[in-house]
Each structure stands twice: as structure tokens, then as C-alpha cells.
């Protein structure tokens, strides 16, 4: 969608870098225009009226002026501050993961309101969700669906035969499940248990309200996470910074276990 000389949209802050004297360069996902880059002048100064409305993960109503080189934010009004995400290192890490995935899966100016709503709802849920791993898996599957990478979980990607209730293989390259008989179609396909298939299908097709009542054991969580990260890393052709960070946090959590922090492993 082409933008007027001045325009406005609700937006989520995905990334920010220091810029100029006291400015911030923001990568935003706007509800109306998709991903855009804009500068928030003076946003590092506490006395600026925009400071406090354009921090990472925040959802704000923004007013823009089209600039010669770059769009400028002229006004900002916070809609959801997500303070709970900044008050908990693990939640902050998952929020980082949510925005990093969004950033990697989208290009500038390609707008999609469903993606916007998915991310906003996921950040909302992150503030209170008990099972952050489950929420992360749900978000991954939905985002993949909205960006054209929906993994095929109901038919064999080699033979189109229906998937039976048995252990399968997951092919990142072919984008879904491979029946055991077709394993040689992708030598790098990884094994996946029948129960993991069941959970992934459930996450792919049910709303979060239903999904959130699932109770999964830790080993199953580990399996699902490893399959999804395998697939995502294949598509993105790189590791995600927030995932590396999460793994580091886990290694440390074993050293400094705190009973009140939510489950991360």
C-alpha cells in the first residue's frame, strides 16, 4: 500500500538502533503498511515525548511524516507497554524470539493484517502464559502458515498418501512429513514420533484458547522444539540470535535455578 505524505498506523517495535545524536532508528511492523523503518528523533532522551512509547515490543499508535531518505515518527502513543515482558528475563527472551522471527519472515512494505494480529495476540499471551514453549510452537506454526511455509502434516510430502498414526520423518527441504517408506526421498529428514505429529497438527488447526490447556511433558516439548527449530533454521538459512540466547540461558538456569521463574526447558 502506498503511503501519503503523512500517515498513521498502530505498530510493534521489532528492532531499534541508536542513530544520530540522540535518535533511534526503528524497525516496525505496522498494522496498515507492514514492516517499515522509521526514525524517532530524540528517543534516547528521557524528556522527549516519544520516549516511553517506542521501546522494544511495545505496541503504539504512531504518526509518520514521509521523509526524503527515511520516514520520521512525529507522534507516538502507547497502546500496550508489555511491562511484564521486561520484568522477566525468560519472557523477554521469548518476546525477542517472536519479533525476531517476524522480522526474518517479512520484507519491508509487504503488509498483512493477520500477521500483525497474530504477533499482537502472541505478545499479549506471553505476558501471562504458563507454558511459554507451547506458545512459541503455536506462534511458529501460525506464522509459517501466514508466510507460505505451512508444514504439511496431513499428507506425505513425497507420495501425497495420508499420514497414518505411526512414527514418521520430517523433511525440512520438502516442507512436511515423509512416510517411513519414502524416507530416502530426503536423506536429511529427521525422525518424528506419532505423538509429536499429533500435537503439531493440533497446534496448527486449533485456536490458542484450546491449545493453551494442553499439558505436555518436558521430553515431548524438547522434541517439538527441536523439529521446529530444525525447520525454521532450514528456511531462514541461519541461526536465530534469540534462540542461541535461550539455550545459553538454559545452561545457566541449571546453575542458578530459581523456583519462581517460568519453565524454560
Amino acid at each position: 500500500m502506498s503511503r501519503e505524505r503523512t500517515f498513521r498506523s498502530e505498530a510493534i517495535v521489532l528492532r531499534r538502533t541508536d542513530f544520530g545524536e540522540a535518535d533511534r532508528l526503528l524497525t516496525l511492523y505496522t498494522r496498515e503498511f507492514g514492516k517499515i523503518t522509521a526514525v524517532a528523533k530524540g528517543a534516547r532522551k528521557p524528556q522527549s515525548r516519544k520516549t516511553g512509547h517506542v521501546e522494544l515490543f511495545m505496541r503504539s499508535k504512531l504518526f509518520f511524516a514521509k521523509g526524503r531518505d527515511i520516514d520520521v515518527i512525529t507522534q507516538a502513543e502507547m497502546v500496550a507497554g508489555y511491562a511484564a515482558l521486561r520484568a522477566d528475563l525468560v519472557r523477554a527472551t521469548y518476546a525477542s524470539y517472536v519479533v525476531e522471527l517476524l522480522d526474518r519472515f517479512t520484507v519491508e512494505d509487504d503488509h498483512n493484517i493477520s500477521i500483525y494480529d497474530l504477533v499482537a495476540n502472541t505478545l499479549d499471551a506471553l505476558t501471562t502464559a504458563e507454558d511459554l514453549l507451547l506458545l512459541a510452537r503455536f506462534y511458529e506454526l501460525r506464522l509459517l502458515g501466514l508466510t507460505g511455509f505451512r508444514p504439511q502434516l496431513f499428507q506425505c510430502v513425497a507420495s501425497s498418501e495420508p499420514i497414518l498414526e505411526e512414527d514418521q520423518f520430517f523433511s525440512a527441504e520438502l516442507g512436511g512429513l515423509l512416510r517411513p517408506a519414502y524416507q530416502e526421498q530426503d536423506r536429511r529428514a529427521v525422525p518424528i514420533t506419532a505423538v509429536s505429529v499429533k500435537v503439531l497438527r493440533y497446534l496448527q488447526t486449533r485456536p490458542w484458547e484450546m491449545v493453551s490447556s494442553l499439558r505436555l511433558k518436558r521430553p515431548l516439548h524438547r522434541d517439538l522444539e527441536s523439529i521446529m527449530h530444525h525447520y525454521l533454521t532450514y528456511i531462514l538459512e541461519r541461526n536465530l540470535k534469540s534462540v542461541d540466547f535461550l539455550y545459553r540461558l538454559r545452561r545457566e538456569a541449571e546453575l542458578f535455578a530459581s523456583p519462581d521463574s517460568p519453565m524454560i526447558s
Binding site: 545524536e21 528521557p46 523477554a92 534469540s242
Partner: protein, 202 residues
């Protein structure tokens, strides 16, 4: 601008300026041509200042502030409260707190902040040195004066967890600094209020 018409030394300086924070390609060119046209010793003065910066500064082995002498003047100052330790992200934050005149204890400079988004972890910062210093020291209170940003909050949360076993009182600057702001840009009055109003962090 055509890249190849510029003599290589000019282009090199432009490129070097452009790598500095807050300086775009246009400012980098402007600075370079200013030096090119300026009095001869102006460029040489700058060059010698840069050389001296490299040769004569280092990190204080106690607090990791930038210093000429090791330990630095703050660590050597016996008039400062040895029981109070203020943890900051960058040397510029230390300067901002010094300007506020509301603090008369010791410092520890982390040289960055934990960032899940950028993948910066505690091992990339002077965290192990801080823990060691607190465990072996006589501090009664540690003030976590990291920025009121996601990274600053993450760092404070992490340090609070790491230092929880030491039984030292851990405090955080008072709320009221807007989220996303930078201590470096905070005026003296606001900063001294935030220091005076610091609260136990748990």
C-alpha cells in the same frame, strides 16, 4: 557520489568517520573535507589525540572504567564510600552519575548490556568480574544503574539472580525514568532523584 574519483586517503578517512556512531556518509564527507581544507596542524592535532587515546588509556583492573592510571582515580579515592557499589553499562553512564553528584561510592562498568534480541549474553560483559568483586568485597549495597530499556532491565534481572546468594542488598534506580530512555541523556536532577529514590530490587 562517485566512489573512484576520490584519492584513496580521502576515501579511507570518510569510511573511517562513517563507521562512528551517529555519523552518516554525508557527515563523514563533510568532516573529511573540513580537515582537508583546515590549517595543517588541525589534522595533525586530531591524529595525535587519537594516537594518545590508544596508547595512554586502558581499562581499570578493578572497575573497568576507562583510565590512564590503573587503578583509576575513583578506585584510588579513599574519600569514597567503600561499601556502596554502582553498576553501570557504559563509561558515559558513570559520567552522567558523577555529574549528578548524588553518589559517592564505587563503580563497576559492564561495557554493555544483556540483549536477547542482539544475542549479547553475560559472558560478553564484565559480569564474572563483578560477581567476583562482590563475593570478595565488603559491599553492603549494590545499585543496579543500568538503563531503563529492555536490555538494561534484562541485565538488572540477570545480575539480581546472579548476586542473590551473596546477601548484599541489591537496589535499582527509582521508577520514573521513561522506558527506553538513556541514562547518558538524563539530566542531573532527574538522575539524582532516581538515585535517592532507589528501591530494593527483588
Amino acid at each position: 557520489m562517485a566512489h573512484n574519483v576520490l584519492p584513496q586517503p580521502v576515501q579511507r578517512l570518510i569510511d573511517e568517520f562513517a563507521r562512528l556512531p551517529g555519523i552518516g556518509p554525508k557527515s563523514a564527507s563533510r568532516l573529511t573535507f573540513f580537515l582537508l581544507r583546515g590549517a595543517e596542524n588541525q589534522a595533525l592535532e586530531l591524529a595525535s589525540a587519537l594516537q594518545e587515546l590508544q596508547a595512554r588509556t586502558r581499562f581499570c583492573s578493578v572497575c573497568f572504567n576507562i583510565t590512564e592510571m590503573d587503578p583509576c582515580v575513583v578506585c584510588e579515592d579513599s574519600g569514597r564510600d567503600p561499601n556502596l557499589l554502582c553498576v553501570v553499562e557504559e563509561p558515559l553512564d558513570l559520567l552522567a552519575i558523577e555529574r549528578s553528584r548524588a553518589f559517592n561510592g564505587r563503580y563497576h562498568v559492564l561495557h554493555g548490556a544483556i540483549s536477547p534480541v542482539e544475542g549479547v549474553g553475560p559472558e560478553d560483559l564484565r559480569v564474572a568480574e563483578l560477581v567476583e568483586r562482590v563475593q570478595g568485597g565488603t559491599f553492603r549495597e549494590i545499585i543496579l544503574a543500568t538503563n531503563p530499556t529492555l536490555e538494561g532491565e534484562s541485565t538488572a534481572l540477570y545480575l539480581q539472580r546472579r548476586l542473590a546468594g551473596t546477601k548484599v542488598k541489591i537496589t535499582r534506580l527509582a521508577r520514573g525514568l521513561p522506558i527506553g530512555g538513556d541514562l547518558e541523556y538524563t539530566d542531573e536532577i532527574t538522575l539524582s532523584r532516581a538515585l535517592e529514590g532507589r528501591q530494593e530490587f527483588s
